[in-house]
Every structure is written in C-alpha cells, then in structure tokens.
Amino acid sequence: MEADKEKLHDRLLPPLPVHGPNQEPRPPRDFDGIDWSLHDDCCLAFLDVETEDEAISWVRSRITQHPISWTMCRTTLWQLATTVTEHAQEDALRHLDGSFLSERIKHLADPRSWSFLQTDFERTQEEGRLGQLEAELLRCQVPDDWPPPRCFGKHRIVLHAFSGRRRLGDFQYYLDSFLADHGSGIVVHTVSLDIVVDSVKGDISKPDIRKFWLHGIDEGWIVAFLAGPPCETWSRARAVQCASADRPGPRVIRTADDLWGLAHLRLRELEQIEVGNLLLCFSAEAFLRLVRVGGSATIEHPREPEEPHFASIWKLPLFQLLLLLPGVELHSLSQGFLGAPSCKPTSLLCLNLPGISRAIVKNQVASTMPKGAAIGKTVTGQWATSSLKEYPPALNRALAAQFSQAISAAPLDESVAIADDFLLACKEMTVTKFTEVLGRDFAG
C-alpha cells in the first residue's frame, strides 16, 4: 500500500524524513554572485596593461568606481583569478605572469587588502602577542626614496623631554646661545617637556597629552627631539646590594629575558615599570615620527651592559627597528670624560646628527676616567645615581651644537604655520628661569 503511494508520488514530493538522514546542511549561497561586467572589464584591461602592478591597480580602481558589495566583489575576484589562470597560456596574456597575477587577484579578495574592511578583521585574529609583534617590526624595509624631503616653518619647536630643572649650562642654555649667534631668521622654541615644569601638558602618561605632542611632530611643527627617558627601572645599580644599608635597596625588575618587566613584582614596582615603559615608548614613537618628517632627535640611555643577563633598552626589538631607519646612528660614550662624577657609560641614538661623535670628542673636559661610583646612598641619604640624572654641561654643549646646526640647516617653508594653541602651549612651556630643586625619580 505504502509502496503504491510512493510510486504514485515518486519524484513529486521532496525527500521525506523517513527516507533516511538529512543531508549535511550547506551554507547559504547566492544564485550568481558574480558581477560579470566587472569581470569582463578587468579581463579586457589585462590585455592592455604592461605589468601585474598596473593590472592590480586598474582592478582596484575599477572596483571602487561602481557600486558593488564586498560579497559580490569577492566572488567576482575569485572568478577573475580562475579565468586568468585558465587563459594564462594564451597569446593575449603572455606579457603577464598568469599565476602571479592570479595570486595577486586572490589577495584582493581578502578583506586585509582593503583598509576600510580591515579594522574588524584584524582584531578577530588572536594575533597581537607581544613577541610576535616585536618580531614583525624587525621585518622593516626602507625604500630608497624614503622619507620624502620635508621643510619646516619659521617657528620651530625643539622638544626636550624629561628635561628636569632649568640650570646654567643645560641643553637649552647652549642651544639658545648657538642659535642667537646664527641669526638665520628662524624662531626656535625649546620646550621643556617635564611633569615638574607643567603638570598638565608635561604629563606624558596621559594619552591626550601624548597625542598632542605627536600631532605636532606629524605636522612638521616640531623639528627636533631630545629625550633621556628615566633609567631607574633599567639601572644595573639595582643588582648591587649595599652592605651598609639597613634595609635592602631596590631590586632588579627587568632582565634580558623580560625586558618589559618581570612577571612577579610588587605593586609599586609594577607601577614604576608601567610608567617607565610608557615614557620609553613615547620617546621611541616621537623618534620614529621624526624620522618620517626628516627632523633631528637623540635618545640618551645607559650603554648596554657587558653581562648578557642585564636588561637594556638597546636589546629591545623596538630600538633595533629604529636603528634600521635611515639617518639613525648609535654612539657610545662615557660621561666621565665630559665632566660627570663617575664613568657613566651612555649610548646616544641619534637621528640626522652626523657630526655628534666629533662634537663629543671636541667637548671632552677630562683626559682620565673618574674613579667614583654612583652606587647606594650618599651621606645625605639620597640615591647616589640622582646626581647623574643631569647631563654634564660639556655633553649639553656638544648636543646643542649639533642640534643647532641641524635645525638651521632644515629648509624653510613659509607655508608651514604652527596652530596658535600649539604655539601658545609651547611658549608657556619654554622655561627661562633657573631653579635648584631636582625632581623625584618616580613621580608615579
């Protein structure tokens, strides 16, 4: 009976559940997701173009000229890639590498190739582990024509980050005197970017403030940058135990394996590390942006220790990246030869300051290395390293001489005008009054 019914309705009814398990569910698909006009236009264009780059840029521009959804665009590009592969051996396409062009078209069918589609996609990947990102940065390759030549306006800002107190013989003192002698018609404002100078605009731990100053660099208003980011969390003096001290001194919180900070720290140490990382990252980013605009910069930090297990910023992939960029050099010196009370081995990462080595040698004030060591506490109870926070005048003079030359040499472009509010902020942070009080090491 059932068989008769089935015969009667055979092929007239859809499959019934009793006939067996359901088919595997299929993803929804469009009937014909291909935009054949786009496909054909591209195919015709490939006959005329000379290189694969030209072909891809033509496809890109064609896609954005007519309304088309990403879904249809993607399907069409896949079809186009197949078509190119199938016809690669034909005479009309001989002048192009068919398989290479097909691969490039498939890349276009990936959302990563379109900036406005990227945001969401990139975040969905569980990429972004710190180690991976650092390794990725080291793949940096600089094209021959990079960076493009850049001009600066009449008003030029020199950003002196972590400047500390104004004093006789500091960097600004020498820079002002060198530029006064020069008389090239440019106006230079030396901004002391330090929390002890201005608790609002000098507080780099605030994202808005960082953005404010980095914007100034991108616009070409800031011509030079000098920074000696705090080295308290990097100092090798932490590894030395003071025998006389009644309580243990600060301990090592970074090692060569954990350059950004150890995994187990006290809460205060963690805060210290966080602030230290933030200030260092700001310095590195400002330096990188100045590379792009063709400015000058120097980052000063203790030299890389000989012991392999000690931490140093020069071991960071971030700084190794900076060294790959054009015009960047790393110089090492002992501040003891320039008048510091101890040897204080230092490295300077310089951008577009080609004569810095000669200037340092020229300003040398001591022929022998001082014997003093800045470890532990002084008789007044201060950390001995505190006195080394300020550069000796001879070093300031050498740096200022080089910076003044670079600033004066940058071509003048009258069209570059600094925004009024930015210039006002800079003027407010140009300190002219000398003070006696040293800032604290960790203001956090």
Binding site: R11, L12, P14, P25, P27, P28, D30, F31, D32, I63, T64, Q65, H66, P67, I68, S69, W70, T71, C73, R74, T75, K106, H107, D110, R112, W114, F116, L117, T119, D120, F121, T124, E126, G128, L130, L133, E136, L137, C140, Q141, W146, W260, H264, L265, R266, L267, L270, E271, I273, E274, N277, L278, C281, A284, E285, L288, R289, R292, L318, L321
Partner: protein, 444 residues
C-alpha cells in the same frame, strides 16, 4: 528513633584538608542537620537506597510538621515554602525518579502526621537563601539566574550611571563593582563547574557584562584582554577565585560553627580552592615571605585564620597584581600595534608573504561592506539593504521569485509555504533540487 539514626554525622574536622595534608579531628562525630538561617530551615538527609530515603523524609517531615502544630504554628505547605527535593542515585533511582516526576506522578508526597495527612510538594529544584538548589547538583540554573540578576541590575542603572559620559570610566567601574558585581557574586563562593562548556558560558556572559560598561557598539570586536585592561576589572576566573579565597577567611572567622568535613568531602570545591591558593602564591611570588602554598599550605591557612585583615590584603594584592600585569602587557601590545600600523601606512613594512597563505574561496565570510562607498556592515543583510537603498541594487533571487517562484509557490509543499522559506530553500539547495521542485510545480 534518635538523632544519630536520622541525621548524618561526620568526623569533627578542625579545618580544611588541602593538598592532602591531614587535619586535626575532634574525638566525637558531628551530627549534620542542614544549613539553617533565621527562620529558613533546610534539612539534609541521606539513606542507602531510594525507598529508605523517602520513608525517612516522610518521617522527619511528619515530625517537623507535628512539632509546628504542637506549638500552635500552621506550617505553610504552599509552593516555594515547604518542599521536598530528592537527589536519587544508584540502583532503582531511575524507577523512583519516574515514580516521583513521571508524567502521571502526583508531584506530592503524602506525609502522615499525628492529626491528619499532609501533602508536601516534591520538586526538582528549590530556592533557598537566594540560591537555586538543583536535585542533580547542577548549577546551570543558578548561574543563569545570577547572571540575569546582574544584567538586570546593570540595565536598571544604565542610563543614569553606566552610560553617563559625565562620569569618568574609573568612577563608573567603582559603581559597577558595588551595584552589579556584588549581585553577581552573591553566593558564588560555593560554585563548582562541572564542565568546560559551563565555564566558557560563564566567562562569556561576564565579559559581555563588562563590555556593556564600555558602551561600545556591538559590531566592534574587542578582545577580552582589551576589555579587562580598559575597565581594570578582574577576569571572570579571577573574580570567582577572589570570592572563594575571601570565603575561606570568612569560614575561619566562624570556624567553630563550620562543618569542615562536609566541605572537605566536596572534592571539586576543594580542588578549586587548592588552585586558588596556588594562583595567589604565584601572584605574590617575591612579594611575601610565605612559601609556596602547594608545599606549605599551613602557612597560608594560618594567615587566613589568625590574621584576617592581612589575609584580605593579600587577596586584594593578588588580584591587583594580576590586573596590573595584564594591563602592562596590553599597553605594550597596543603600542606595538600602533607602531606596526604606522610602518604599514608609510610602506616600511612589506606585506608578509605568508599572510595570505591558504586563502580559499570556501572560507566563511565574516566581512561585509560596500566597495563604492567604502563602508563596512555588520551582516550580509545590512550589506544587501545598503546596496538596495543607496544604489538601487536588487538581489537576483528576488527577480527569480517574482517570475518562476510565483508559480512554484503554489505547488511547493506546506513546509515551504512562505516567501522567506522559499528563498532560503533556494539559497541552500543544490540547483538539481530546485529544478526538481520547479518541474513538480509545472507538472501539477
């Protein structure tokens, strides 16, 4: 019948048994009646088999109700007031379960009293002191309820407090902790997670709650680490760890009233607590003089027992350390992502050759947008709607419906008799399938 025969008794343990370290036990066994709070009485009974358990429950309930009546109190036997819940295990459990909860089961248990027969409801779950007890020990219902309460609390204060941009995020987080998290974490100290699915569900829901605090649009993909570092809140796992560790301190505070052996018999909970202590030890490594809890649990338990304030401080420091370390890592990741984007933007970072490796047309599509307008959409529906509204484009399937499907609609079987279902069928089916349906329609 004496109390010893009716109620269970346990050895009188004097503390928690962690990491298999033996604990001091009192000479006499301790009778366990059940958790009672004010006028809320819960009696726990056990027996060797189901029938014995039911008899025991009837006897005890009858005695209890008679006692109430003897003291001129009328027991409230309404739903949610006086109920019996059986957790049946072992031989014959299935049969009894059918007998008690089957389709023809009365769902009440007759209890013989001195004066008359009582009918007490038999339930599968019961709400006691604000928490749902399930007969199988399953916490799903309780977890769902608790999360629902938290979301409701959030919604109640959303407009005025949590979505109020006049409050800084730090203040909103504080309010969130006191108004929402307190409701979420009430009674969670005793939670155990039977499978990873439940744990993942809990994690995802709590993260969704945190995400609401950031007031981000739904289509923005935010990683868990990003949300946690932005809000500065503990991860869901840490949140429940802290609850358990604080609860341990509370238990020590009333240690003479606590049935330690009952807690020690809860293997899952003890394992969680051991893991929590290990976690705390890891967070406070190098920050306390305490030895690792895995090898020296007594040191940690002594702190919890004799120094409750210090214990609270330790737990707080542990969770703060975890939060700050995560924030440090996230800060660095974001910074490096920014540098990578900068390098990409200026052509300094070549496209990674294997970044597009393994591209396939069949890969599920997760990105939608309009190539002409350069905008992204949340879904394919959004993309189609935009194409239609902005560019007047109509999906070809709709044309097909207008022509062929109009006839087909009349002929296709009942299950497809809606426009949406017909289109959906056509989108998922093979061409052969819908051709067959068309033939059927024509034949008819």
């Amino acid at each position: 019948m004496g109390a010893d025969e009716v109620f269970d008794s346990f050895p009188d343990d004097q503390g928690p048994r962690l990491y298999n370290v033996p604990v001091e036990t009192g000479p006499d066994a301790k009778v366990f009646v059940g958790p009672c709070w004010m006028d809320d009485l819960c009696i726990a009974l056990s027996a060797d088999n189901g029938d014995a358990l039911i008899s025991k429950a009837q006897f005890v309930t009858g005695e209890l109700l008679d006692h109430c009546l003897a003291h001129a109190m009328t027991p409230n036997l309404a739903a949610g007031k006086t109920e019996l819940m059986f957790s049946l295990r072992g031989r014959g459990a299935r049969k009894l379960r059918v007998q008690l909860f089957g389709p023809s089961a009365p769902r009440v248990l007759p209890v013989l009293g001195e004066y008359h027969m009582h009918q007490v409801r038999v339930v599968q779950q019961y709400t006691h002191l604000g928490g749902i007890l399930h007969h199988s020990g399953d916490l799903r219902a309780e977890i769902r309820r608790r999360l629902g309460i938290a979301h409701a609390a959030f919604t109640q204060h959303r407009k005025l407090l949590f979505a109020n941009k006049h409050f800084p995020l730090v203040r909103r987080v504080e309010l969130f902790q006191s108004l929402v998290l307190s409701k979420l974490t009430f009674g969670t100290e005793s939670w155990t997670f039977s499978d990873i699915k439940l744990k993942s569900y809990l994690h995802a829901t709590v993260m969704r709650l945190y995400r609401r605090l950031l007031s981000q649009t739904g289509d923005q993909h935010l990683t868990d680490d990003f949300i946690l570092s932005m809000t500065g809140l503990p991860s869901p796992t840490e949140l429940f760890r802290v609850q358990r560790l604080r609860y341990l301190g509370t238990l020590f505070g009333c240690r003479h009233l606590v049935d330690w052996d009952l807690l020690n018999a809860d293997g899952e909970w003890v394992t969680l607590l051991e893991d929590d202590l290990r976690w705390l030890g890891y967070q406070l490594l190098d920050a306390t003089h305490l030895n690792p809890p895995g090898t020296h649990p007594k040191e940690w338990l002594a702190v919890a027992q004799h120094h409750p304030r210090y214990w609270k401080r330790l737990v707080r420091r542990g969770v703060l350390h975890a939060i700050k370390q995560r924030s440090r890592e996230q800060q660095l990741i974001q910074f490096h992502q920014g540098i990578r984007d900068f390098l990409h933007l200026h052509g300094l970072l070549p496209e990674q050759p294997d970044s597009f490796h393994g591209l396939s047309e069949d890969q599920p599509q997760a990105t939608y947008g309009c190539m002409f307008c350069g905008c992204r959409h949340k879904s394919k529906g959004g993309e189609g709607a935009h194409q239609n509204r902005a560019h007047g484009w109509i999906n070809p399937v709709r044309h097909l419906y207008e022509n062929t499907m109009r006839q087909l609609y009349e002929g296709i079987p009942h299950s497809y008799e809606t426009e949406g279902a017909s289109i959906a069928l056509l989108c998922v089916s093979q061409p052969a399938h819908w051709i067959r349906i068309t033939i059927h329609a024509v034949a008819r």
